[in-house]
Amino acid sequence: MQNRLEEIRNKLGINQEELAKELEVSRQTISSLENGRYNPSILLAFKIARYFKMSIEQIFIYEEE
């Protein structure tokens, strides 16, 4: 699954540390999400979407294999 997390975060001028603090996750989790090494749980996906006031689909791109 791909995501636009880094792009959206950069657009809003927030660094990984700040985003991690807001979402109550570690900075490494944000980094792993942005690199596509880690897919978030549905709860974290909702948290991220709510934080950016977007829908999950606007941030995470699901590609069927």
Binding site: A20, K21, E24, V25, S26, Q28, T29, Y38, P40, S41
Partner: protein
Amino acid sequence: MLCKSYQNKNFYIGLIIIGLLSITFGAVFQQYIPENAHNLSMTAGMLSGIGAAFIAVGVIRLIKFKRSSPEKLKAEEIELKDERNIQILRATYSVVAAASILIFAILAFVFLVLDYIVPAWITIGCIYVEVIIFFIAYKIISLKM
């Protein structure tokens, strides 16, 4: 569960109490052991050692709770509850569990070669216990999910 306990002061107070009981039991037990019973003496020593370790961990954590700022404790809590960290921990546990079965199997083989029949049976028993625990845990967890 462990993550919740890690941030709970009562958990560490309990740990200190268990440690104190363990040390006391070890020390008292030592008084009644005949001089030539080295195995029992070692057991009493182990109990005291484990007790001391529990007390040390409990005291260190309680001091840390007292000294650390709320922000630092919050950051620590986030690290513990972080879903990626939890997944890493679970994956690591799985690897350790698989490795332990392999180690037990190798140990059982080594004991048999050395003609240590009782330790070999104990080791084989441990493998069976581990497999049984796996099925019980699988059943319980699948009922919860």
